[in-house]
């Protein structure tokens, strides 16, 4: 059995990647770190992994055979995303609106529609210092990241610990990243922005019925409101990472604080242990 822990946040730039990388690097046991922030993946900048796999990730899009198409318009009716319009008896397809549901293909009475793989991005996987790593890289101009995130998650292992670095926000890419996790850690910063977006993230993980707890980053920079909110709502705070210019400078260079500063290794390991302890319960 493997255990999956997602690291998420409503607001961007709160320290998800910092927490994910440092927990992974301080873990004594085998870890697979999946970077599901496919729009702006950053974990590889810290791990500098050796890649053993690079492949294109595709989704299925309909292709219309003009010889078989009778222009009946059934495909247009099947498509709830308005990706197909019929113009002068011929289907006109708007690829960016298509969700790859396959409805048009099934509906076509003339069997004039086939599905063909279309690239949306790439998947890369490898190792770094005994750590397994994979991430997705969304192609520029592609708008839907969920299928690529789903593909990254397929790299999961049968045993050990899987850490998922989720994208910011509370919409579909975040949901796709965390929805199958055993536990989610929400990283928050103690500012009015941080509190506002933490509340939204809490609503989302509650809706998904995933157990969660909070880690406060740059804990001494803002105010007490995040702590008070967590206390009043009986949300566990698993750790407080102080604002330390050394961390900021190390991270800016792509270095990992828990590797070079022993006290931080102990702190991130303690957070990880508290997470694992809550999953066992």
């Amino acid at each position: 059995m493997s255990t999956t822990v997602a690291i998420a946040s409503g607001k961007g730039g709160t320290g998800k990647t910092t927490l994910a990388v440092n927990m992974a690097m301080s873990s004594p046991s085998q870890v697979l770190l999946l970077d599901c922030d496919v729009e702006g993946p950053n974990v590889h900048l810290f791990l500098r992994p050796e890649y053993s796999k690079r492949e294109s990730v595709t989704v299925l899009k309909p292709v219309f055979d003009p010889l078989k198409c009778t222009g009946c318009g059934q495909c247009r009716k099947a498509c709830r995303f308005n990706a197909i319009v019929i113009l002068a008896g011929k289907p006109l397809f708007f690829e960016e609106l298509c969700h790859s549901c396959g409805g048009c293909v099934r509906r076509c009475p003339a069997r004039a529609i086939k599905e063909s793989p279309t690239r949306v991005g790439s998947l890369e996987a490898g190792t770094a210092d005994g750590l397994f790593f994979a991430h997705g890289l969304l192609d520029i101009g592609q708008s839907r990241s969920s299928p690529l995130i789903a593909r990254v998650k397929e790299e999961g292992m049968k045993r050990g610990l899987v850490l998922i670095d989720a994208p910011p926000g509370t919409s579909c890419p975040m949901v796709e990243s965390v929805r199958d996790a055993d536990f989610t850690v929400l990283v928050a910063e103690p500012t009015p922005f941080g509190l506002h977006d933490l509340k939204l993230a809490v609503m989302t993980v509650r809706k998904l019925e995933i157990p969660f707890a909070v880690v406060i980053n740059r804990a001494d920079l803002g105010d007490e409101s995040v702590k008070i909110y967590c206390f009043e709502n009986a949300i566990d705070v698993l750790g407080e990472i102080p604002f330390d210019r050394r961390i900021a400078v190390l991270c800016s260079r792509g270095d990992v604080p828990s590797v070079s500063i022993p006290e931080y290794r102990a702190m991130f390991l303690a957070i990880l242990e508290r997470v694992l302890c809550r999953i066992e319960k």
């Binding site: 396959g102 708008s143 926000g169």
Partner: protein, 315 residues
Amino acid sequence: MPDRKIKQISVISGKGGTGKTSFVAAFAYLGKDLVLADCDVDAANLHLLVAGRPGDGKAEPFKSGFKARMDADVCAGCGRCLEVCRFHAVRLTEGAGPGRGNPVSIRELSCEGCGCCVDECPVSALSLVENTAGELYVSPSRFGTLVHARLAPGEGTSGKLVTRVRQRAVEIAYRQGAELVLIDGSPGIGCPVIASVSNADGALIVTEPTVSGFHDLTRVMDLCAHFKVPACAAINKWDINPDLTISIEEHCRKREVEILGSVPFDPVFVRALTAGVTVMEYGESDAAMNLNAIWTALQNFLRKYGNGDSNAAAN
């Protein structure tokens, strides 16, 4: 229709937390005749800095797409919906299985509303219902009208909602005779960001000298080039890593992306934010001075790259 064009400038970053919203709030303080559009619809924060009375705005429901609904009394448990759903949105209920006469249920957050299950269900146990995916607000703020929105947690149509926010902001700008719509974008390069920059007159990329900030800056620069939106940049917290700041400047020069200015790391950002005001209102600081200079440069940038005659027409 009025014959003048409203200019739209989008503030984006690639990486989150580089300071987009603090920058936009400072510009809102400095600018005149503008309408604010908070297009970070899954984590909208601008109202926390600029709205006099938060939550005062008029709310409009944002309807978008559909969700499948299951009538458990009708379901025969054949499992056909499970076969056709590509979004893992059909779930077996406890002890159920296809063909065992037990109903399935819909995972609402996973359902994209394609209707395949509805079309294929042999006993018509499934239907599509219109989905309310969030709310849009038009609020008075201390610096002009603010259009913002809240996407319901877990929803997936953020691009559409961003487009709606921008449309509403432009309508209001016409009505008020405002010249500029200032857009606070979201992190990333996906659908909400594409909706925030497409057809804008310019994009200001707020970045920071970290390996992550630099990496995501290049991706968002590629995005602007892809959609042919003129881009400029500003570096926040430049003194966290001065060497990387120089590398970013060099990279931008090579790609002909103008750097409008840099702001040092300054706790005044967090202090102002905690006080619920813009950096400009929080007393004199280096950050305020630099933001002022960036705002001036941004207006020059717009004059250079935005639709040239719109200024003359507005007068």
